[in-house]
């Protein structure tokens, strides 16, 4: 890309923000235009399902206004209507047009809204934007029965926040355990128990067939497939997301489960890249094409892309990691353990601090750490380092992930000794 090239970024979430920021940090001098369809400054979403629901003073803006001014990052509060690839322009819904030399699609995802009868009743909310979170926060103090449809990360985080307000909370999930798509049975069970201990009811393995309302159009309950009914005057729907691919698809760019990109995050049009929740990329760790919904993925892909656009191309290989916080329990996940065939639990779940090591074909693929940050850090490090760890080794008495990671880094990496002078350097992700 030429030094003076214009970069237009569609989507002002965490990924879009980071591309703009990293381009400037790397000295890109041309115009950088960040287009977002929400009002206000770019903000972080993770607190929306946690502290933001309880504490209105929670600050979520990523950076103040002066940050963008100082760096000449132009913020446009509008929506992109279409991409004209032949003239390299995007048409905005406010009637304007922006020319680009490179276009970054960081469009994120949209919440899935299940087509259930009654889904449009008053008192049914979803959670994605600051607006959504404010709506939920406003309603929480006056509601008496909260039903959460979907026991994914968002649903469980909202349940944890709601438990602190004393509202009667029920979580309804079609699968048989919470966060089933993301974590192992051991971790799922532990988290489910935490919620039950706080008084939350979990209806697992049950599907919603209908939402009941009264004559004013307000929701009154959730009807399940087995005929039972959960009373509710506030319902949160958190049943997953769909990547926002329409702009790309309409422009004739390859789309699969997300906007398809190569290892360098380029779409089928070399002038257009895609990052974050909306991008389906070749995953260096699983050997498959994946799409990940996480801060880490958005931010690290943004950095990887900014590096390429400023003349330092590299394939995207960062180790995925995720976190959730529910009550005072921190769950940190490194790698991708879905589809594991074996596991080892390190530590005793009864103490509230343990890690679950997940293996595929005998080799470590992911680690879930519950209140065990040292294990998490070690896992990120050794998954990045690529030294295979097999299950037999972890079954030995007194096996410690941090010790193993430290030992093997030293023996494999001749520069590790220098890094280890104060055991400080994070060799696990490019920052």
């Amino acid at each position: 890309m030429k030094p003076g090239a214009t970069v237009v970024i569609v989507g002002a979430g965490q990924g879009g923000f980071q591309v703009a920021t990293s381009l400037r940090e790397r000295g890109h001098a041309g115009p950088v235009i960040l287009v977002g369809d929400e009002p206000g400054l770019p903000y972080q979403r993770p607190p929306l399902s946690k502290s933001f629901l309880l504490h209105p003073e929670t600050q979520i803006e990523l950076r103040p206004h002066s940050f963008y001014e100082r760096r000449h990052i132009a913020l446009r509060h509008t929506r992109v209507a279409s991409i004209d690839r032949s003239t390299r322009r995007v048409h905005l819904t406010d009637g304007n047009t922006l020319a680009y030399d490179h276009l970054v699609l960081a469009t994120g995802a949209r919440n899935r809204i299940p087509p259930i009868e009654g889904i449009t009743l008053d008192g049914i909310v979803q959670l994605r934007t600051q607006d959504d979170a404010e709506r939920l926060r406003t309603r929480l103090p006056t509601a008496s029965h909260l039903a959460i449809i979907g026991a994914g990360f968002i649903g469980m985080e909202v349940a944890a926040a709601a438990a602190k307000t004393g509202i009667t909370t029920t979580v309804i999930e079609a699968l048989h355990r919470p966060m089933a798509r993301a974590v192992s049975i051991a971790t799922s069970t532990h988290v489910a128990d935490l919620h039950r201990a706080q008084g939350t009811t979990l209806y697992l393995g049950r599907t919603v067939v209908r939402l009941d309302g009264d004559h004013t159009g307000a929701v009154t309950g959730v009807r399940l497939h087995d005929g039972s009914r959960v009373p509710a005057d506030l319902v949160v729907v958190g049943v997953g997301v769909a990547p926002a691919v329409e702009l790309a698809a309409d422009a004739g760019i390859d789309v699969g489960d997300g906007i398809r990109v190569n290892a360098f995050l380029s779409t089928s049009d070399p002038r257009i890249s895609a990052i974050g929740d909306c991008a389906e990329f070749p995953n260096a760790h699983t050997g498959t094409r994946t799409r990940l919904e996480s801060i880490q993925n958005a931010v690290d892909q943004a950095r990887c892309l900014a590096a390429r656009l400023t003349g330092t191309p590299a394939a995207y290989t960062a180790v995925p990691w995720f976190w959730t916080e529910q009550f005072s329990t921190k769950l940190q996940i490194a790698g991708l353990g879905q589809g594991h065939d074996e596991s080892t639990v390190l530590g005793d779940p009864a103490t509230g601090s343990f890690s679950v090591l997940l293996f595929k074909d005998g080799l470590l693929a992911g680690v879930e750490s519950v209140n065990a940050p040292a294990d998490h850090i070690a896992a990120r490090r050794l998954l990045a380092f690529g030294k295979p760890l097999c299950r037999e080794e972890t079954a030995a008495d007194g096996f410690s992930l941090p010790q193993w990671a430290g030992r093997h880094r030293r023996s494999q990496d001749p520069t590790a000794a220098a890094h280890d002078q104060d055991d400080a350097r994070g060799a696990f992700t490019r920052r």
Binding site: S22, E25, R26, Q44, P46, P47, E57, Q59, I60, L62, R63, P64, S66, F67, R70, I295, V299, R303, A306, A307, W323, E325, K330, Q332, P373, A374, I377, R380, R381, P402, Q421, D422, D423, A424, R425, G426, F428, R431
Partner: protein, 107 residues
Amino acid sequence: MTKIIYRQPDGTRVTINAAPGDSVMSAALAADVDGIVGECGGNMMCATCHVYVEDPGAGQLPAMTDDEDQMLACTDAPRTTASRLSCQLPAGDTIDTMVVTVPGSRT
């Protein structure tokens, strides 16, 4: 109010008056101080708000928790005895002035 002085690797300084409730990290983000990223929003998940505290033994700062200690093992810049996560350092009435050095900037 706590006066927080951020020293950059190039010798420049930024001084901020932080209110109780702010952390050294949140005050830095709000004032656009280079080098403090705070990727996880102050949840001790990312170690991107690492700073070196001047006079860490002065006793004004909250003790380091195990979690912070463990997360400091994955900072970009080397860890020293002065290393802290700035999201864990609250401004408050009991601390008059704090001086922290920001590690080299990231890309």
